[in-house]
Symmetry: C2
Subunit: 297 residues, 2 copies
């Protein structure tokens, strides 16, 4: 740390389990080139990360690398141990792990408390980036939908606790492998069927109790099959929203992530009577990774 090498721009990457998004950041902190591909960590064989990093440099330039996400997990390149809550941008910068002289990996964040344990890798850069750049208030509840939705409590500009809800993965499992698979083929929309699923989950308090009704409603002529996907997603996301709001003040809710997902969670929060602000997760990632790089100059 503290070297001058980051002054002349760098390559940032959000390197996840199944995908990799890489950005060339210039000396002013702007993204001037980028690419995304399917070279997530699970597609890289053991010992193969040096070659993948070299390929990133071929595409974006011979710059230092600042990597975040599952690349720092025990299945990734070099393990970057979790930083415990409360965590902010300084804790992440202090926890950087160097995979080489010009390759740093951002640590994940862990939470132990309330009789449970939780971890995140990747979302923390978006969270601290949004906080540090003023995109979100320093006290708020952040919902970060994805394969594993995160509800993060931000207080005093730090991530003080969070909870992971596997909603995205559960929906995908049901869509790809379950008895509901045929019914879940259509795209999910935040329409009336979605909202009625949300309302049902909010009223009844448990998607597990209601998922089979998605099939039974259609078999018994109580709902047209084309509404099943949105209704099922509404059940799961409604249940997720109830979980996230439980015990948390709901006056400052931020939904951060990919717009097609934040739209669904914003609709579900609306059904729950909670207003929110949607912000783009990629913008937050870039803000966060640039802030971390600035701390190393």
């Amino acid at each position: 740390m503290g070297t001058g090498m980051w002054l002349d721009g760098f390559i940032a990457a959000d390197w996840g389990t199944t995908n990799r998004r890489a950005y060339l950041i210039d000396r002013s902190g702007s993204c001037i080139a980028e690419f995304e591909d399917a070279k997530g960590i699970l597609s890289v064989p053991a010992g193969g990360f040096d070659a993948e990093v070299a390929e990133m440099r071929e595409r974006l330039g011979d710059k230092p690398l600042l990597l975040a996400g599952m690349i720092g997990s025990n299945r990734g390149w070099v393990e970057a141990p979790y930083v415990p809550c409360p965590a902010g941008i300084e804790e992440l910068a202090r926890g950087l792990v160097w995979a080489g002289e010009r390759e740093a990996i951002v640590p994940g964040v862990s939470f132990i408390g309330d009789g449970r344990a939780d971890v995140m890798r990747g979302e923390e850069v978006q969270l601290v980036g949004a906080i540090a750049s003023g995109l979100v208030p320093s006290n708020c509840l952040v919902c970060h939908p994805g394969t594993h939705n995160k509800w993060a409590v931000v207080a005093g500009g730090l991530v003080t606790s969070f909870r992971t809800v596997m909603t995205g993965e559960l929906y995908n499992l049901l869509k790809e492998h379950s008895i509901l698979a045929d019914l879940l083929k259509p795209d999910v929309e935040p329409d009336d069927s979605f909202r009625s699923g949300v309302q049902r989950a909010l009223d009844y308090h448990d998607a597990q109790a209601e998922l089979f009704t998605v099939r039974a409603r259609v078999l018994l002529g109580q709902a047209p099959p084309e509404t099943a996907a949105s209704y099922a997603s509404g059940l799961l996301i409604g249940s997720d929203v109830r979980i996230g709001l439980s015990g948390n003040a709901a006056d400052n809710v931020i939904v951060m992530g990919r717009p097609e997902l934040t739209e669904l969670y914003a609709a579900a929060l609306d059904v729950a009577g909670v207003s929110c602000i949607e912000i783009d997760g990629e913008r937050c990632f870039l803000a966060g990774i640039v802030k971390i790089a600035e701390m190393m100059r």
Copy 2:
């Protein structure tokens, strides 16, 4: 109906989605031969049921057939429309559908009410058999674990309502395809880990909220990996038990099904402070199918 052909014994089958169990019943109503194989309805090509039925007769004898389960669904041999709740053995016998002169199919049961819809196929024979033969009281709450657990309310000797909870399928999806797959490889036992998962679900009210902690607890050294499968199963079954007991009197709870599953649900009910009686589902099926055949004599 009303023919004498059932007097000289018959073949009964519980013909499900992935498996088929067939029994030769003698004139006294006793099972004297049986087999089980993987020829569930999804493995039988369109138009292939005549051949499968002929093969059953080759193995067990040239007898009339009384079939139950998914064989009567819209993906089965001949569709046997659902009989609505309240339903007992007479309603099932009246709803028999004939696939041939000597081949009858027992209908499933449907429930529409409380703002939801539900269906069962196969469990209804066990339920009415247990009621008609006095294996269960005429007023009770029956839990029938399986791929799709059923909580059935029995009143006055009839199934008056029921709810399906997809717990078995959810666990299998997580075990086979999810980020938890590696951790869920061991067999589930009703041990302390299982019971702590049940307690957590009963306290916190939602498996969806807690499933990811199965992984995080291990990553952060809060739980040994070999406890993860039982803990995760405890979370799902604990949540299922809370759903089943919700709004239902819990003084007469019967857990019916395969012993390795009824054992887990009995342990979860015990954590919830509810005593139950476990009974073997196959015995109930045989009691039910014989009672239905008797009504046709």
